[in-house]
């Protein structure tokens, strides 16, 4: 299929990139050390989602060091720290939000921040307290590009989508196992700047095991991914300026494998996909 001209440029990557098992699984060349992973990763993909910022408040100096090791056109999404999503303390969260913004400042300054991902836990239901908290949090993060991922289906209402759209905040479209209570896999565009998609895998048995190795152990079939391209990604891409697609099924390097497939499928569908530095033509690589 010939590539049609389209304003929306999509980047596909993985949730996190620093996994030693990816070397054993053949994604990283043998002998790749921790420090060598991002340079290699950025030669394959054009974006990554920083997972460690959920565990640890980002520190500007570390973020700055890290971004310098990636390719020149590489972008980052940063997951909001757990003290703002899962372990919220009423008296502390505002300070934590300020610290988070300080931590990711190097990405903002260099124009490499694709989005901040606010991943809310399953127990974060749509209550008055939580609604107010989310509104206040989004206000604190404004004007950063923000995507919100719900894991509780009580948020799947038109009023929520409208509220996000009014704030120009993206609703993360999520593929996960079909389990009761989980947010449905809808592709609703609430932000015209970008859309945000996360593939967690469909391992229903391991989803609530509390062990990431079970939860995210899944290998997508090509038909499952092409269904997403056709039903959700292409319609959102028709209306947004950019799109970010991430694979979180990191176990045994299934995520980078599926991400590569997704890049091919998007490209076949005539959508513009930005890959890593190795995938770009020489002119684009040098900013020409």
């Amino acid at each position: 299929m010939t590539q049609r001209k389209h304003a929306c440029r999509i980047r596909v990557g993985t949730s996190g990139y620093s996994y030693n098992e990816w070397t054993e699984a053949g994604f990283y060349p043998p002998g790749t050390t921790g420090a060598g992973m991002l340079p290699y990763y950025s030669s394959v993909f054009g974006i990554t989602e920083l997972n460690y910022t959920w565990y640890q408040m980002p520190r500007a100096e570390a973020i700055d060091r890290m971004q310098k090791t990636a390719g020149i056109d590489f972008m980052f999404a940063a997951k909001l720290t757990r003290t703002l999503t899962h372990e919220i303390e009423a008296k502390k969260w505002e300070g934590e939000a300020a610290r988070f913004r300080d931590g990711i400042a190097p990405l903002v300054q260099s124009g490499r921040l694709a989005a901040v991902l606010v991943q809310l836990p399953p127990f974060f239901g749509r209550t008055t307290v939580n609604r107010r908290y989310l509104a206040a949090l989004l206000e604190r993060l404004d004007p950063l590009p923000v995507a919100v991922e719900f894991r509780n289906d009580s948020w799947a209402t038109q009023r929520v989508f409208d509220g996000l759209a009014a704030r120009n905040v993206a609703l993360a479209a999520v593929d996960a196992p079909e389990l009761p209570g989980l947010f449905p896999p809808v592709g609703v565009l609430t932000c015209h700047d970008f859309f945000y998609v996360r593939f967690h895998g469909r391992n229903a048995a391991g989803w609530r095991s509390g062990n990431m190795q079970s939860q995210f152990d899944y290998d997508y079939a090509e038909t499952e991914l092409s269904g997403w391209v056709e039903d959700r990604i292409a319609p959102m891409a028709a209306r947004a300026r950019a799109g970010f697609v991430f694979f979180n099924n990191h176990v045994r390097a299934q995520a980078p494998g599926n991400a590569r497939t997704m890049i091919r499928l998007l490209s076949d569908a005539g959508l513009a996909v930005s890959g890593g530095s190795r995938s770009r033509p020489a002119g684009e690589r040098f900013g020409m």
Partner: protein, 407 residues
Amino acid sequence: MGAGQARENGYAGLRGRPRTVVHLNIADFAVAVERQMDPRLRDRPVIVAAGAGARSAVHDMSEEAYRAGIRKAMPLRAALCRCRDAAVLPLHPDRYARAMSALFKEAYAYSPLVEPGRMDGHLFVDITGTGRIFGPPVDVAWRMYRAVKKRFGFDPIWSVASNKLVAKVATRLVKPVGEYVVGEGEENEFMAPVSLDLVPGIRRDERIRLAGFNLVLAGQVAAVGKEHLETVFGARAGRIHDAVRGADAAPVAPAGSDPEAIGVSRTTGSDRLEIRPVERALYEMTEEIGAYLRARQAAARTLSICVFYPDGMRTCRKLSVHPPSAGDAGLFETARTLLYMAWTRRVRLAGIRLSCPGTTGRSAQLELFGGMDGHLRHEALSDAVDRVRERFGAGSVRTGRMLEASA
């Protein structure tokens, strides 16, 4: 950073893989344990004091007390002048030991390589190679943290790094609460802005010497280079150079294998400044260590002593045992020299700890000419005493020195 430098930094672990070490550190451990026992102590300054009466000294204090200017080993009287509303509690080593044991069990679920500290709320866990079972290291560390918080109510500082030294510095940086993940290969950059006060393995006199050269940060010392450090610090230069660059090849010693664990402590109850009772206590400790070594066909290469004064001060010294020995007499000779080296203040002692940080296998090779002599003879005598005690009880054979004690 390439694989070569990775090896140089000393974090290449099993089969050359980079190591992943998690450090859990419960700040102000003694206070944290006491607060678990008595919730009324929360949100108020707390001091745990060693000893009793006028010579009592601060063993540990809460963050509130620290902010009021109280420090470890400070005389209790002086501490209370700075923080009059502090709750003062006596030491409860049994409680701290129980808490450490519970923490150990929690971490042991993730790795057999768990190195607990000495009842101080520190745990090092080597989780290298567990990724396929438990997931990414940072997630494992967070799960340990969450479990400790949920089950015991502690709020440990946690860090993830490629070796113990960097992991320890990382928790020191975020004390009293927080977390720090140092990526593999980031050790140099991480250490560069760190104050030398926070770098383990650099002695106080060395820090003072370095400050004299206007070197106060780890990165500044690293930039000087090992050769220049050698001219000032001699054989210690390599150790210092490694430490300031975050290089540490020391393994996470599995519980029970800690050589320092071959050690015994005694409190010296007398209120008088007398050498004989202390020597007797030392001999008794030497006998315990000797019996432990002989039972394992091991011999001491090094002995270490720490003497504790009633005001909380302590002095530690270490000596090689030449030749390595497991005989009581040979060990006592070295131990007594150590005691004289360490006990330099004319103040009575509150306690002594004698340990054996370096061991080796016992030599089975006898002298080619002549009979048994020297340390071999002493070892043979100790072996014979061990056999008698095994058969007839610990008090069946005693040395003259110990008879004097009971007279």
